[in-house]
């Protein structure tokens, strides 16, 4: 039953992303809070619903955003895949895992969005997009990763109280 916390948590993250994070810009990029929340959840030990969180987050984001839905789903699902693959290898350093997964997931999800928009909407200049949008967005996502990881860890401990959640 406590697994249903995904809905309010992800809804809150999507609303914050749309209303607040999109105003906190670095050059032309801003952090992807929803993606960071999904990554932080997938990195918690004992969490069995990471894929569900990725799907719910993707559905919410795709509903709100003008980015083609395939790119949104691909970005979030890839983030969970990377998180679970990396978690088993560097589980003793959760913040390091958080940084590594956030870095690669943010870059790849932004590239997915770039490709999808370039193919289906209007062509975007790559150099400008990479330097002014993708890299600043990745940096801000990395900064958002620390507080988000701590909050999500507490949520994971609440959802799975009997298990040791790092």
């Amino acid at each position: 039953m406590r697994d249903l916390v995904a809905f309010p948590v992800l809804l809150l993250s999507v609303l914050l992303q749309s209303a607040v994070m999109s105003q906190v810009k670095l050059l032309a990029g801003y952090a992807d809070l929803t993606l960071v929340v999904v990554i932080a959840w997938a990195l918690q030990d004992g969490v069995r619903t990471a894929w569900h969180w990725a799907l719910v987050a993707s559905a919410m984001t795709a509903f709100l955003s003008g980015v083609p839905w395939m790119a949104v789903f691909a970005g979030n699902l890839l983030a969970v895949f990377l998180a679970q693959a990396l978690q088993r290898r560097i589980w003793q350093a959760p913040f390091l895992a958080m940084f590594v997964v956030t870095f690669f997931s943010a870059i790849l999800s932004q590239i997915f969005a770039y490709l999808a928009l370039s193919l289906l909407s209007a062509p975007l200049p790559f150099r400008e997009s990479f330097g002014l949008v993708i890299l600043p967005s990745v940096l801000l996502s990395l900064l958002a990763g620390i507080p988000v990881y701590l909050i999500v860890r507490d949520i994971a401990r609440w959802v799975y109280p009997s298990e040791e959640v790092e």
Binding site: L15, S18, A19, S22, A28, T34, V67, V133
Partner: protein, 281 residues
């Protein structure tokens, strides 16, 4: 008899003594002695008073600190409440100013009918320049309707649900608008970019344009009504090797501070795609 004489004598001497002292005092002859005595008494009184006040403060001070802290907390709470009230009132005043400007705009453009809306969010992706507004199909909003502020055009409705709509800003990289210069017949295409900059393209080489020229919608293509102000030219790039001139446009609207907008509800965009000839393979 002798006793009564002695008592009368004592009384008389006492009266004379008191009278003498009074006379000396009134004459000012006792001033040095009285000042010395009164000085000693005052010093003694001060000593007692100072010690008493110190003792009183010692015993009452904790109660005073408690009451002062309580009072301080009450005042801080009051200050916080008033600050919240001030911020709320400032926001209302700003909204009132914006609404007044929008009313002025709608009054000066009576040919269109408008629906006011608040901007409640932006697109989660930094590649897209979209805003979310709090009116939707329940309010008569349809896809393609232009959206303006008191300053000028900001975009058009891209997607609609029951109680909200997504507006594609003119700064979006996928946005392309037919424009003309207000003071001439020069026409061009205005496009957005990932950074939010606006640029003009397809300006004929022979066209005479200058920095400061006002850019307005031309109405061609049927996507926007004509004569909506967009901005002014700030930079012109002209090279003989190019087919067309290019220019940068400074928008009149501050897209970072969008709060209340107007949707033009009586404009129906025309879909001219069926009229565009398909090139033969």
């Amino acid at each position: 008899m002798r006793d009564s004489f002695s008592r009368s004598l004592q009384t008389t001497i006492l009266f004379l003594l008191v009278g003498g002292i009074l006379a000396l005092a009134l004459g000012g002859y006792l001033s040095p002695a009285s000042s010395r005595v009164s000085g000693s008494l005052v010093s003694l009184q001060s000593w007692f008073s100072t010690r008493y006040v110190a003792l009183q403060e010692f015993f009452n001070a904790p109660r005073d600190i408690t009451s002062l802290r309580q009072r301080n907390a009450e005042l801080e709470a009051e200050v916080s409440r008033l600050q919240t009230q001030v911020i709320s009132l400032q926001a209302r005043a700003a909204d009132a100013d914006t609404l007044a400007a929008l009313v002025d705009f709608s009054t000066s453009n009576p040919e269109s009918s408008y629906r006011a809306a608040s901007v409640i969010g932006r697109d989660p992706s930094p590649f897209l320049h979209y805003v979310i507004i709090d009116v939707g199909s329940n309010d008569g909003i349809q896809r393609g309707m232009p959206v303006v502020t008191a300053q000028g055009l900001i975009g058009r409705v891209d997607a609609v649900i029951a109680d909200a709509a997504r507006v594609q800003l003119i700064t979006d990289p996928a946005s392309a608008i037919n424009i003309r210069l207000q003071t001439s017949t020069v026409e061009a295409i205005l496009t957005g970019s990932v950074t939010g900059d606006l640029s003009l393209d397809l300006i004929p080489q022979g066209a005479s344009i200058e920095e400061g020229d006002i850019v307005v919608t031309s109405g061609l293509g049927g996507g926007y009504p004509a004569d909506l102000i967009i901005g002014q030219i700030v930079n012109i790039r002209q090279r003989d090797a190019d087919l067309f001139q290019q220019a940068s446009v400074q928008p009149v609207v501050d897209f970072a501070r969008l709060s209340i907008v107007l949707v033009i509800t009586n404009f129906r965009p025309v879909n001219i795609e069926p009229l565009i000839p398909i090139p033969a393979p």
